[in-house]
Symmetry: C2
Subunit: 207 residues, 2 copies
DNA sequence: GAAAAATACGAGCGATAACTCACATTCCAA
DNA sequence: TTGGAATGTGAGTTATCGCTCGTATTTTTC
């Protein structure tokens, strides 16, 4: 069989003590990524920050990348929970409110932990976690496409694939850029204006 | 005085021979970035690829980052030339054609050297070239805002800053994502459809 | 409470990378 | 032609990093 890239734990922690160790390592990794950046996140340093020896680190993570992947997976899980909830809630709404809810959720998702999100977004291409993130993208794309299909009656004639691509990409880019590169757009009024404009952009395109 | 980050040549090459050396180093760096990725781009390897010794490399570049920055600056210069030309040509056109020309130019810009563009986009956060790229963004933003101002009569009432942000960010994201992550959207028909849809998105938003 | 299993430790190994420096070669001005 | 300036060389230095492994400690099992 082919050599799989190892990003899974060597041992799975069974006692409470070791579960706490694993938890501390993932937390420490996230903290160091945010505070010092990817290049400063050496395994020795992560161990030190977590109050754990390098040896223990390598009991649970086969390599440094696996630690970063663990952080990404956890962050992704949080995002997905939030976005899935919003999409589920919006499914039965007419497009005016549905799209608005989705945009609002996208901003909320980016605000969960903006600094971590930024570091991860910048460093993901270097890790084996691309698949993970692309799966996330695909899920959003698929769900939104289904939403459009359900509300076809409210829309102009559309190539659904293309329309979903245009909408999802635009919403993601606008919220991502606003939250991560234009903090000034996040006062309450500015954020409201951003939601309005993004919603308008998407709606006028769809209708 | 404060210690400035060194990304400028130690010596500026004055003879033809040394200019050729510098040129070869930048070329080699770009080639290695595209072929092998950032992590494989060691200074020794770059020197070897350029047919130049490490010693010579360090005569003209204070560190590895400076080499990458040089590649980024060159690529950016190419992009800017293209985009500036398109914006200049579009300045007097009505928005229907102006926006379409801009979108077409954005795709052309991303197609200049997609592989290099992708590697650089991924690695820029790690280099000192962020300012560079942000300057590029700001120029585009400013030019487009001025364009909107000139064509106010054709548009609905707008917050120009916000509208320019929305349009520029969306166009950039759609073209970037399409070219770099969805090669299938770049057959001639698909590309034409993408231009149509992006143009429509922006125009219906503005009008 | 003793044996066994799980967990934790951290000095140190091997690899690699950025960068230097003492010396060689080429170019050019006088 | 020649001497100094510009350019080029690459083995070696220094530093860091990922990771191992022999050992120590804690927990569980019986």
């Amino acid at each position: 069989m082919a050599a799989r890239p190892l990003t899974k734990p060597r041992k799975s922690a069974s006692q409470d003590r070791s579960r706490a160790t694993v938890e501390a390592l993932v937390e420490a990794t996230a903290r160091i990524l945010v505070r010092d950046g990817f290049d400063k996140a050496s395994t020795n340093r992560i161990g030190h920050e977590a109050g754990v020896s390098v040896g223990s680190l390598y009991q649970y993570f086969p390599n440094k990348e696996a630690l970063v992947v663990a952080v990404i997976e956890r962050h992704n899980r949080d995002l997905m929970t939030l976005v899935r909830g919003a999409l589920a809630g919006a499914a039965t709404l007419p497009v005016e409110q549905g799209v608005r809810a989705l945009v609002t959720a996208a901003i909320a998702a980016h605000r969960l932990d903006p600094k971590l999100h930024r570091v991860l977004a910048e460093q993901i291409p270097r890790t084996g976690a691309l698949e993970n993130v692309e799966a996330f993208s695909r899920e959003n794309f698929g769900t939104f496409r289904a939403y459009l299909e359900d509300h076809r009656a409210e829309l102009r004639a559309l190539d659904l694939d293309l329309a979903a691509f245009v909408c999802v990409t635009s919403i993601e880019a606008l919220t991502h850029t606003a939250v991560l590169h234009h903090a000034e757009l996040l006062t309450d009024e500015a954020a409201a204006a951003l939601v309005d404009e993004t919603t308008r952009l998407v709606l006028r395109y769809l209708q």
